[in-house]
Symmetry: C2
Subunit: 328 residues, 2 copies
DNA sequence: CTGAAAGCGCTTACAG
DNA sequence: CTGAAAGCGCTTACAG
């Protein structure tokens, strides 16, 4: 196992000082011939400076990203998009997975700060008081993704608007009783805004009775909630806070011998590829997660440069009409 | 924005030297009363040492992970599992996303090395000669995930065995002509081993004619290949290298008015949650990705400690019997 | 255009 | 049990 190669090694081989090599990498003055020599050696050894040893540098060129989980289609898209943008801008992306734990969420934020990243993108399930405190006392720019955060800079999906659109769409078909399969209110975006949108949308179109439930984000939770809805009496529609929950509803409805959409309409949020494959295809709605990642990354870089940025950016969604909601 | 707090600050407040604080964090000798004082201040300021400033330390306590993409269910599971294990062992996980690019794959490996990580877990789509060279010249332990790599230490899924089991399962139903929707051979595990397993399994049970195609991993690719299979004449079964490809096959079969499994059997690999929701539920097979992550992480840590490790570890799979393969 | 020197936040022998 | 000093791989004024 060869020894790790350092900037000093490169300097030696090039017959210069590491100061010069450093300048080479950071865009300082280097004579053309020297530059070429360094470039050649750098190429030969595939050398790249250790980004984390830039302790003295004003900027580390690394951006931290804390995500609530990696096991989510939406998060995957967001992180991929962030990585692409940042890579193109010469920044490193440092991903910290909170694995559904609020304590880890806080720890990740704190750790990122001591790691002297230039900025932080944080997507949290819940912004606890401790997290908020950490965000506020953060010495580098922070942008919050996917959750409202009035105190700071955010990029969010239009959860309320999307909910309302879906509520109205289903409401127009004239249901008498609707089940809402939701998530916990600690998730403000999905648990509250999205639900409120749905309720308002329904109210504007016939004002059906609504049985609103809360669970977690799993397939199993979707099944449990669907069962519970049915135990409370027949419904004409189930609106599910995520496609995954809708998958659970499909299964339970089938078990009960109920047809979609003839007996019960079903709608979701997420627009997963798989949703189009269900029978019938799920009526859902897809947020532009790539835009969220891109805009978040762009925004944090602007903040670092001291450029003005919008306090709040809202990404769009696309309505995906399936065949799972009854025609009116 | 408050200044970042450093070890020297903590030392000042505790009335000691940073040497002592460092020892506190690294398990050296510290008097009980001193320890308590440092602990208190550390707690108050939520201080954690900058893991990347441990330039002088023998061990950095960070493990690098390079993944081919973040947009994959399997990768998500593997990375989550790695993170959990490593966190429990006091290690940082540094994720590098190659975003489907072989050049980035190589760059990520190289960069990780200069970042003085203690070990590397690499999951690559293709082990190019350059990547192999990088792995071989790596000064820290490397374990390769999900791909065969005879020169090194690997944790792989039993692609051949799984393919053969699926081939045999379908073969037993007596198909005359079978379509195989595969991926490129540059992916040795899926593109070659899995396919070979399927072919061998089929051959042992009736030896049907096989139309084997190659594409990428997308839903659209599944559709294209399914179309191409049908253009070549009727088949009794389609075996798909991943569930996602099978999703595409379902769509195309439906378009052609062909029923699953009455007209055409379909089978996949992956065991996605969604696969059970298809109509009919997909017969598939799920690899234990969590085990792959866990074992990979455990193995690299053992290698770092100089403990003996198996050259090759094979993770198990579970057969998931759906209703998409005709009864014989 | 380049080098010597000091310093970033940490660790580690070595004295005491 | 603790501190002073040197050093990790890099950056950055400051001379020259």
């Amino acid at each position: 196992m060869p020894r790790k190669i350092t900037m000093a090694d490169i300097a030696d081989m090039a017959g210069v000082t590491k100061s010069t090599v450093s300048r080479y990498f950071n865009g300082g003055y280097v004579k053309e011939s020297t530059r070429e020599r360094i470039q050649e050696i750098t190429r030969e050894y595939n050398y790249e400076p250790n980004a984390f040893a830039r302790l003295k540098a004003r900027e580390s060129n690394v951006i931290g990203v804390v995500v609530p989980t990696l096991n989510s289609k939406v998060t995957s898209r967001v992180v991929t998009s962030i990585g692409r943008y940042l890579r193109g801008q010469g920044y490193e992306t440092l991903i910290k997975d909170s694995d559904h734990s609020p304590e880890l969420e806080l720890k990740n934020m704190q750790r990122l700060m001591t790691l002297n990243v230039d900025g932080i993108l944080v997507s949290a399930i819940t912004i606890t008081p401790e997290l908020r405190e950490a965000i506020e006392s953060c010495p580098v720019p922070v942008v919050v993704l996917a959750q409202e955060y009035p105190q700071g800079t955010v990029v969010v999906a239009d959860d309320y608007g999307a909910g309302r659109a879906m509520g109205a769409y289903v409401g127009r078909t004239g249901p008498r009783r609707v089940g809402y399969l939701g998530v916990e209110e600690s998730d403000l975006a999905v648990g509250i805004s999205r639900r409120q949108g749905v309720l308002d949308g329904l109210r504007e179109h016939g004002d059906p009775e609504v049985v609103a439930l809360q669970g977690d984000y799993s397939y199993e939770s979707g099944q449990r909630m669907a069962e519970e809805v049915l135990e409370n009496g027949p419904v004409d529609a189930m609106i599910c806070a995520t496609d995954r929950l809708a998958f659970g509803a499909y299964l339970v409805l089938e078990r009960h011998g109920l047809r979609v959409p003839e007996d019960v309409s079903v709608a979701g949020f997420g627009g997963y590829d798989e949703s189009a494959l269900l029978k019938p295809p799920l009526t859902t709605l897809k947020f532009d997660s790539y835009a969220m990642g891109y805009l978040g990354a762009e925004t944090v870089l602007k903040m670092i440069r001291g450029e003005p940025v919008p306090k709040k950016q809202i990404v769009d969604y696309t309505f995906i009409e399936g065949k799972s909601v009854r025609e009116r």
